[in-house]
Symmetry: C2
Subunit: 206 residues, 2 copies
């Protein structure tokens, strides 16, 4: 046997990721095997190892694509300079994405790298970009010189929202209330609490 060159390396890379995405959308992580991906693109399993370090590497790349999709879905949000309204819209957009792409979004957290392998830098950057969307919403809320507080708030809201979506899709906690309402409550009251605290400390100093 030998080279076929039916497809360029880049084409093969995309074909493999597409096949993996389709399998994941159908059967989740459980159905995502090297042999099945290879069969779906008409190559032998060995060829995948020419494109990726291993199956873990392939899945991390697939997850990168999912993060890109999520960013595109959220970046188009309006943004009318009212932090609370913007955050509520962002949260609902995030929840909608996890509902519409449940299997792919789950793969982001269902997959665990072997050993102590950490995620590549580009992966963390894609996550940071998402966090940045939340951070931007908060700009009007925190004046200049309060960037640290703003970042902190964005991280608290992001992880909290994440927890709700995860417990929901993994069915680990029976939530008899739609997470949309929970997320709204979180954003509304957490921001209200921050506002009160800020007003008090400002009032105390002035």
């Amino acid at each position: 046997m030998g080279r076929r060159a039916d497809h360029s390396r880049d084409e093969l890379f995309e074909m493999a990721l597409s096949a993996a995405r389709e399998i994941a959308e159908e059967d989740g992580l459980g159905g995502l095997t090297a042999r099945r991906i290879a069969a779906k693109i008409g190559y032998s399993a060995g060829t995948l190892y020419n494109l990726f370090d291993d199956l873990d590497d392939l899945i991390v790349h697939l997850n990168g694509r999912t993060l890109d999709s999520l960013y595109e879905a959220l970046a188009t949000a309006p943004g009318d300079n009212d932090p609370e309204a913007d955050l509520l819209a962002l949260a609902q957009g995030y929840i909608a994405f996890t509902r519409a792409n449940a299997k792919l979004w789950n793969l982001l957290f269902e997959h665990h790298r072997p050993g102590e392998r950490l995620l590549p830098d580009w992966h963390h950057q894609k996550i940071g970009r998402l966090l940045g969307l939340m951070d931007e919403c908060l700009v009007p809320f925190f004046g200049p010189g309060r960037e640290a507080e703003r970042n902190h708030t964005a991280r608290v809201l992001w992880s909290s929202l994440h927890g709700m979506c995860l417990l929901q899709t993994e069915k680990k906690l029976i939530l008899d209330e739609p997470i949309e309402a929970m997320a709204t409550s979180l954003v509304k009251y957490y921001l209200a609490g921050l506002r009160t605290s800020t007003a008090e400390s400002a009032g105390g100093k002035t």
Copy 2:
């Protein structure tokens, strides 16, 4: 070969779960194989299938034990009738448990049941009991007739806390701030927001 009766069925059950726990504490889900658990207790892999439906069932039982440990660790908290202080203590206790038992706590969420198998009722009850601890803290905060709001608040706080711990231990989001501080901020401001809103609506009606 045949019966040995070195150990009763119940003893074998406990031995298998203990062996599995030790393996999970060392190597996580990746090292948790039926063959390895069996070898550790000196029986063949087939014997495990006399005790559990399959490996998934064994892991669900192990996870049940972890939920019990977590409950014991949290149920002993003081409780001085100040909702905010109690909730802060509960949150810190939860975070401390996830740090002290990182691998076991991770197993609760790293493991996914095959197919569409749902968690058994007793598992959901153990989770419900934990959520109940948070709910109890909120009793002095919500007067009689406001049970629904109280449950809602407990669920929002629980899932949010969960999200922080998960993103931290899975290293999916770089949090350059200890989650203890994030959890404190969440509890403090979310409750403050609730208080404000309650006062406003009460003031409007009175």
